[in-house]
């Protein structure tokens, strides 16, 4: 077992997936699983799984395996899914609404407390039972409600202006759907990117490879 702060990002990135698989096992009323079984279900090596899980302390039991429910809970703990970080969405266009409506924030450690847009015409519209606020009210809202993270659903061009303001207002992290590289600008802050365009291009490359070399896939 190593210090929690020292856990590598490679391990962390696998945790949500473990969490998902374990959740499914719970639904199926399976209450123990060995690293070998889990490895074949997930397409990882058993060794990697044991290595990963052991970063956080021994949840397994020799000769038995892992207790599914316990492990699921523990990974949730590690990820901090029991938190309730106050989040606001910037941009109430289609993307902002989808995120607002479908994300199950509560199950993932967040709490959505506001949605903002710069279009006057949006103001007041209900999204997930919450009125869209005009961006002019951002300062006041932040002083009163102290949001901790912002979810950026705006065009790339508008990004820096608003993020600078948000940082001044105390925002401590971004979930970034914008095609801009915020992390460089705010070195201290967590910035989690969802670059859909990049994902699509990577997909394009893989399709091309697959169609040109139909054999060499794994």
């Amino acid at each position: 077992m190593i210090k929690r702060e020292d856990i590598s990002i490679s391990v962390i990135k696998r945790l949500p997936r473990y969490y998902r698989f374990l959740g499914e096992l719970i639904k199926k009323d399976i209450d123990r699983i060995s690293s070998r079984e889990l490895s074949s279900k997930m397409g990882l090596t058993a060794s990697l799984i044991r290595q990963d899980l052991n970063c956080f302390g021994g949840f397994g039991q020799q000769g038995y395996g892992y207790n599914v429910k316990l492990l699921h809970e523990e990974i949730g703990q590690i990820l901090g899914l029991d938190s309730s970080f106050r989040a606001i969405i910037i941009g109430a266009g289609n993307l902002g609404r989808v995120i607002a409506t479908h994300m199950d924030f509560e199950k993932r450690g967040f709490q959505l407390i506001g949605i903002f847009d710069k279009k006057e015409s949006m103001a007041g519209q209900l999204v997930r039972g919450m009125p869209v606020r005009h961006i002019d009210g951002l300062d006041e809202f932040c002083r009163e409600n102290l949001p901790q993270v912002a979810i950026l659903c705006i065009p790339a061009e508008a990004a820096f202006e608003i993020t600078d303001a948000l940082v001044r207002l105390g925002i401590q992290g971004f979930w970034n759907f914008t095609h801009s590289d915020l992390a460089l600008r705010y070195p201290g802050l967590p910035v989690e990117n969802v670059h859909l365009g990049d994902s699509l291009m990577t997909f394009c490359y893989r399709m091309k490879e697959k169609l040109e070399h139909p054999v060499s896939d794994r």
Copy 2:
């Protein structure tokens, strides 16, 4: 220079980002850049950049650097952005519509040729000037139009049934917004996942770390 098929996925995943940065340089009328300059803009080492770009053959010139426009074009080529893979969207809910409306498929090697939903009430509605089709018409549509990839914007529970059908109908790859692990089920096919839930959980972890150990960030 190494064989194109042997280029590692780590390199490929960085290409869209290079492409984006180079595109911005072009907009600013900058026509040459050294690996060192680019490295400081992108937060990578110059060494890594030279290593990456050299996988595809020497685009640089000693003592000069890289020709921005040439390099941009070349990376586009490598990614296959000049392709026009025929794509269909499965699921015309909020997510499906956002994707349909905002993705700039043409610039990223794809061509959107159809949108499907199982809700009768959706059928006929226009999304990006394209009528939503009822899922019952999928077979016929595929036989006639030969889509190559499917973009999955449906709930996880519905996924396997429809993807099995799609594979039978000749679909060769998935851009997967579903919370399910398709890659394991179709080992030969490219599956590019966008797991928003996982991303949010990773973000949660990072926020938690940041707030618990405010010093130890980079």
